[in-house]
């Protein structure tokens, strides 16, 4: 009993000492990370000139977010840093993994609090997409897109106030923000700048030179018979072959489009019956219910499973879906009818799809984890 009392006294005294020490330490040595002068750090922005593949759309980064070497470097670090999530387990790269062509190979992505509603979308050439981000187009730009996952309770479950506090605490980030954006004080580190930096990095993820298809288009190589047949059917270039109807939505050179389509995944007798309303929930147009963004087909060999909900595991399943005409609903794309393609013709289209593979994206050190 005596010993126990003594023990508790010691414990109380110990706690008091720790608290006092911590308070003294805090008040004496801990600077206010929200107000640190950064003006002494050199700000020498070096413009970054993106190498745009021939025949690609014009590259139009926002006027207020010009790309710099330091901006991209900061964005790359932030992209890979789980500091953005509440428990430091989830980063942008959790769902957008370089080795998986910036997807996660899951039907629907997993965040801090379980499964999200949709799969992660490939980031290749995302800097050339000017008509909305996410499967439902709910963010107009990459900068606005990068803001959203942090406070999504399922994805990262964090508050931007906390994120900024955590970033301000780290000297490397304070220096990074100074070098990227020229801010004079840590108080000027904002979520908007975080998003700008991440967007700068994402705009560097470009693929348009190295695939077999690209080299074929440049006249450097031949496609074999199967690939050629698939190419002709994909873009409906030969009246003798059936039109596989792919090119209406997956236009060259990005092999995606700016548009959103109902591609026959959900059956509904009316426009309000879709389980996932997609674009319609964002723009309020009932005729857009059930429509989703057309993703790029580049590197699709690495991005299974397919569709916004990851329902198809293989390209054969995808082809079977499209050639059958899909599930019926009022605003289903008119191009989805029974196409009567033979098994051989379906296989040829898949052969062509595989020519869109650029594995250099998966190993390019400029896109890799920086730490």
């Amino acid at each position: 009993m005596i010993l126990r009392l003594k023990g508790s006294h010691f414990f109380i005294a110990f706690v008091i000492c720790i608290v006092c020490f911590a308070r003294c330490h805090d008040s004496i040595e801990m600077p206010d990370v929200r107000n640190i002068d950064l003006a002494g750090i050199p700000y020498l922005p070096e413009p970054f000139n993106l190498e745009v593949p021939v025949n690609f759309p014009l590259f139009e980064p926002p006027a207020d977010n010009s790309m710099t070497v330091d901006g991209i470097g900061l964005g790359r670090k932030l992209f890979y840093d789980p500091i953005l999530s509440a428990d430091s387990t989830i980063s942008c790269s959790t769902c957008h993994q370089q080795a998986k062509s910036f997807t996660d190979n899951l039907p629907v992505s997993e965040g801090i609090a379980g499964k999200t509603a949709r799969g992660s979308i490939d980031l290749i050439n995302v800097g050339f997409e000017y008509h909305g981000m996410f499967w439902d187009g709910r963010a107009a730009t990459l900068e606005l897109q990068a803001i959203q996952p942090v406070e999504n309770p399922i994805e990262m479950g964090e508050t931007w106030d906390n994120v900024m506090m955590k970033l301000q605490r780290q000297e490397s980030y304070r220096i990074g923000f100074r070098k990227a954006f020229g801010i004079d004080n840590s108080s000027l580190m904002t979520k908007e700048l975080v998003a700008k930096a991440i967007a700068q990095f994402e705009r560097t993820i470009v693929s348009g030179n190295n695939s077999k298809y690209d080299r074929f288009k440049r006249g450097e190589i031949f496609l074999d018979d199967n690939e050629t047949n698939g190419y002709l059917m994909f873009f409906n270039l030969d009246p003798v072959l059936p039109d596989a109807q792919c090119g209406h939505c997956h236009s060259a050179p990005l092999l995606g489009t700016t548009d959103y389509f109902n591609n026959g995944l959900q059956e509904s007798s009316d426009l309000d019956g879709f389980a996932d309303k997609g674009l319609g929930l964002i723009d309020g147009k009932s005729s857009d219910n059930g429509k989703f963004k057309t993703p790029t087909l580049r590197n699709l060999v690495f991005t299974a499973p397919y569709m916004h909900d990851g329902r198809f595991n293989t390209l054969e399943e995808v082809m079977a879906h499209y050639t059958s005409g899909g599930k019926d609903s009022p605003n289903k794309s008119p191009f989805l009818n029974n196409l009567h393609l033979t098994e051989s013709q379906k296989a040829d289209v898949i052969s062509f799809l595989l020519t869109l593979t650029d594995s250099t994206v998966l190993t390019n050190p400029a896109f890799s984890r920086p730490f």
Partner: protein, 246 residues
């Protein structure tokens, strides 16, 4: 000295007033491109009778217009070089208002008519979407068909109930394109632009007339510019389907 200053000020004010008086008088024009079906405003997914017992529902109605201009006695006054007229409206009120193009600062004058191209003129059609900034409607890769090396001039899409039983079982899509299918339409009628006023003009397109004589069931998806039975027919029907209303 003071009188001299006052005199100079008076002269300056006088000159200013004279300049102001010489300012060109201007007005504006608003064009409403409206889709109709058999004389009735056409909204998307509304059911319309076609060749009995077939019924139609439209899901997309759009076309490029180019070189939109008012005609003067001696010349034309350019209003817009290119635009995508998208009349795919969900509700009847929006369909009734149509797709609008507004042009201001037009010289006050009695013009003799209006003309525009349906499609993309050859000089622009020689380019590709990648040649245009994202703000230009021609930048849309979905508006280009590489098989023809041409922009898609006109999209008419929907679905058809082939049996007339309420089951819209087949999608249809007719896309036109290539220089051979570019058409210029001209309407000669007096259009008076008045000082400080807006002139409203409706350009009505009746899709029953556009699809006149076409067997949708026979070939519901057609984008072959050399096809005469469907694509060629749509082009031939164009002029008859257009009406200008002041």
């Amino acid at each position: 000295m003071k009188i001299q200053h006052l005199f100079i000020a008076f002269i300056i004010v006088g000159m200013f007033q004279a300049c102001k008086g010489d300012q060109e008088k201007t007005g504006s024009i608003t064009l409403h491109f409206k889709a109709f079906y058999d004389g009735q405003p056409l909204s998307m997914l509304s059911t319309k009778p076609f060749t009995a017992p077939e019924q139609l529902q439209f899901t997309r109605l759009s076309f490029f217009i180019s070189d939109l201009a008012l005609m003067d006695q001696s010349a034309t006054v350019a209003l817009k070089d290119i635009d995508l007229v998208d009349m795919s409206f969900d509700d009847i009120n929006s369909a009734d208002n149509g797709y609008t193009i507004e042009v201001s600062d037009l010289q006050v004058k009695n013009y003799s008519g209006l003309k525009f191209g349906i499609g993309v003129p050859a000089d622009l059609n020689a380019k590709k979407p990648v040649n245009f900034p994202s703000s230009n409607p021609l930048s849309d890769p979905n508006a280009y068909w590489s098989g023809w090396d041409s922009f898609i001039f006109m999209k008419t899409e929907g679905r058809i109930d082939t049996l007339g039983n309420g089951a819209f079982d087949t999608g249809f899509a007719y896309h036109t394109g290539t220089n051979e299918l570019f058409r210029t339409v001209t309407a000669t009628l007096p259009i008076s632009i008045e000082d400080g006023k807006n002139k409203e003009i409706d350009v009505d397109i009746d899709y029953k007339k556009i699809l006149e004589g076409i067997d949708i069931k026979a070939l519901p998806l057609n984008s072959n510019p050399k096809d005469t039975l469907q694509i060629g027919m749509i082009i031939r029907n164009l002029a008859n389907a257009l009406t200008l209303v002041q």
